[in-house]
């Protein structure tokens, strides 16, 4: 996986709609992207990389179960996007989708 530290894929993904040609030409209404990634602090397993502990609202919540994991690698031809997603259930039963930006090496929830 080629790493590019100069440009953050999340910076571009935070305003993904600006690059959409169909939107530029249609509506004057401002658009707000849904499901934007929110930075979060995560402690992950050193061996597997799976999230183990999530800082949520100032308190650390252990991950009870990693239900599913998948990877998204896209747009390598411009600003590469490389994310490792995990659908988890926190202790207490709260579901959450986390991903590690593999370019930035930062965690987000979505």
């Amino acid at each position: 996986m080629p790493r590019r530290s100069s440009t953050s894929p999340l910076r571009s993904s935070a305003s993904p709609l600006r690059s959409s040609a169909s939107l530029r030409t249609t509506s004057p209404s401002p658009l707000r992207a849904l499901d934007r990634p929110i930075p979060v602090q995560v402690r992950s397993d050193r061996e597997t990389g799976a999230p183990r502990l999530v800082m949520d609202g100032g308190s650390a919540r252990p991950v009870a179960q990693v239900v599913e994991s998948w990877r998204i690698d896209d747009e390598w031809w411009r600003v590469p996007i490389s994310r490792h997603y995990h659908r988890v259930i926190l202790e207490g039963g709260r579901p959450m989708i986390l991903f590690q930006d593999l370019v930035e090496e930062r965690w987000y929830r979505q």
Partner: protein
């Protein structure tokens, strides 16, 4: 993983909202599907019979399960049909009927839930029943197992109940191993203090680990769980990673995975008999769209979005075909639901023409109130980003238009938005949908 067991989860704990039970009873009916077929066609009971694997794509099928007579003739599961028939010319080949098998499993689970609230289906023919607390109702462990088996008598034909193997032990793995060790009619019961010694003498084949790991362990001379449990943990970690450590904990009886109740909402099923058998993909797609519309309009849906769908039907000349699809994001739109199902039809088409088609919604997402609030008169509430942002006549209710005008007068802007599709098939979640201000 040939043993069909769920792989080891990364963490032994789970969401505590779901009821759990430490003491487990594993009910196992080997060759479940073939036994159901023999109940349906008892005249085949004493003949050489083989059930075919569900066919994925084109090509000759393989043998999934065999009767004792077929085994005596040398037929084995996994064998090609041509080889099996060459070995046993009188072999009766049965097309799989997954719809029938799933319906039987659903019936069994429904009956078991009346005995214990914690019931977990591991695979077809293998069920874990939570036993915690049942002693106050039914008495000794032996009596508890008896009562569970007795409950199945009025759901399953007696020969099937008689063929069940039952194992009761702490944790699902212990119960599974006990069920494998049990004989029909003679359950194996393992108590907490005897679990480690019971497991030690059992084969490693029941471990929920990849087949390659089992093969490597056997090559190292590790055949029994006791031998695996005696290996140094750091060596197992080096050889197999975290799975090695978890397998060791299971083998030593140190890891106890409780039975977890699975919340299974009642599925919504709609079906259509086709006037003549249909194999044409275009017609199947159109019928699928109509069934999805009917399913989404079903009163039992109560606004819930759909996460899991099963598409299937009865095949011309007998047997059935079905394919499940689980969506990454639940949806209540026909196009979104139809797209992955059409992909499955392309990848795993029905082997013959279909006489009927059904759609079953078996897993649901949260109810979405947004479409109701912003319901447009001509259908769904979402618009594509390319369409006009402002209202057009008949699109949004007059009351909502009035509300927007009032809010703009009071606040200077409207805080009401609509969800628009931007790039709904994007792999990047934040690019799929956006909020657009409702403007009059």
């Amino acid at each position: 993983m040939k043993n069909g067991l769920a792989p080891l989860s990364p963490s032994p704990s789970s969401a505590p909202d779901l009821p759990e039970s430490r003491m487990a009873l594993c009910l196992w009916l080997p060759t479940f599907e073939l036994r159901l077929e023999l109940v349906r066609s008892p005249e085949l009971d004493t003949t050489s019979v083989a059930l075919l694997e569900p066919q994925e794509g084109a090509g000759a099928g393989r043998i999934l399960q065999i009767s004792e007579r077929a085994a005596e003739a040398g037929v084995r599961p996994g064998m090609s049909v041509s080889r099996a028939v060459a070995l046993c010319p009188s072999l009766t080949l049965l097309e799989p009927d997954p719809t029938h098998y799933d319906a039987a499993m659903a019936m069994i689970l429904e009956r078991l839930v009346q005995v214990s609230p914690v019931v977990q289906a591991e695979e077809r023919g293998r069920i874990q029943v939570g036993m915690d607390g049942l002693e106050r109702l039914f008495g000794s462990p032996e009596r508890q197992v008896e009562r569970v088996l007795h409950a199945l008598m009025d759901t399953l034909p007696r020969p099937l109940v008689a063929a069940l193997r039952a194992g009761r032990a702490p944790g699902t793995f212990g119960a599974r191993v006990a069920a494998v060790a049990a004989r029909p009619g003679t359950p194996v019961l393992v108590e907490e203090e005897g679990l480690a010694s019971f497991l030690a003498s059992r084969s490693i084949s029941t471990l929920p680990v990849p087949d390659e790991m089992l093969e490597r362990l056997r090559r190292l001379g590790v055949e029994r769980l006791g031998a695996l449990g005696a290996l140094p943990p750091q060596e197992l970690l080096r050889q197999f990673g975290p799975v090695g450590l978890e397998a060791r904990a299971l083998a030593r009886g140190e890891r106890i995975d409780p039975v977890r109740a699975r919340h299974r909402p009642r599925p919504i099923r709609v079906s259509m008999d086709l006037p003549s058998p249909v194999g044409d993909r275009e017609i199947l797609h159109r019928t699928l769209d109509r069934l999805l519309e009917r399913g989404l309009a079903h009163g039992d849906r109560k606004g819930r979005s759909i996460r899991g769908i099963r598409l299937g039907g009865h095949l011309e000349g007998g047997g059935s075909w079905s394919v499940p699809v689980t969506l990454r994001e639940p949806s209540a739109r026909v196009e979104t639901l139809a797209y992955p199902l059409q992909g499955r039809i392309r990848l795993s088409p029905p082997p013959r023409a279909l006489e009927s088609l059904f759609v079953e919604f078996f897993d649901f997402g949260a109810p979405s109130l947004q479409p109701m609030l912003f319901e447009r008169r001509d259908g769904g509430a979402r618009v594509r980003a390319g369409s006009a942002g402002a209202f057009s006549d008949g699109e949004v209710s007059e009351a909502l238009r009035e509300a927007v005008r009032e809010l703009k007068l009071k606040l200077g802007h409207s805080p009401l938005y609509r969800v628009v599709e931007v790039d709904p098939w994007s792999r990047i979640p934040e690019r799929r949908h956006a909020l657009m201000a409702l403007d009059d």
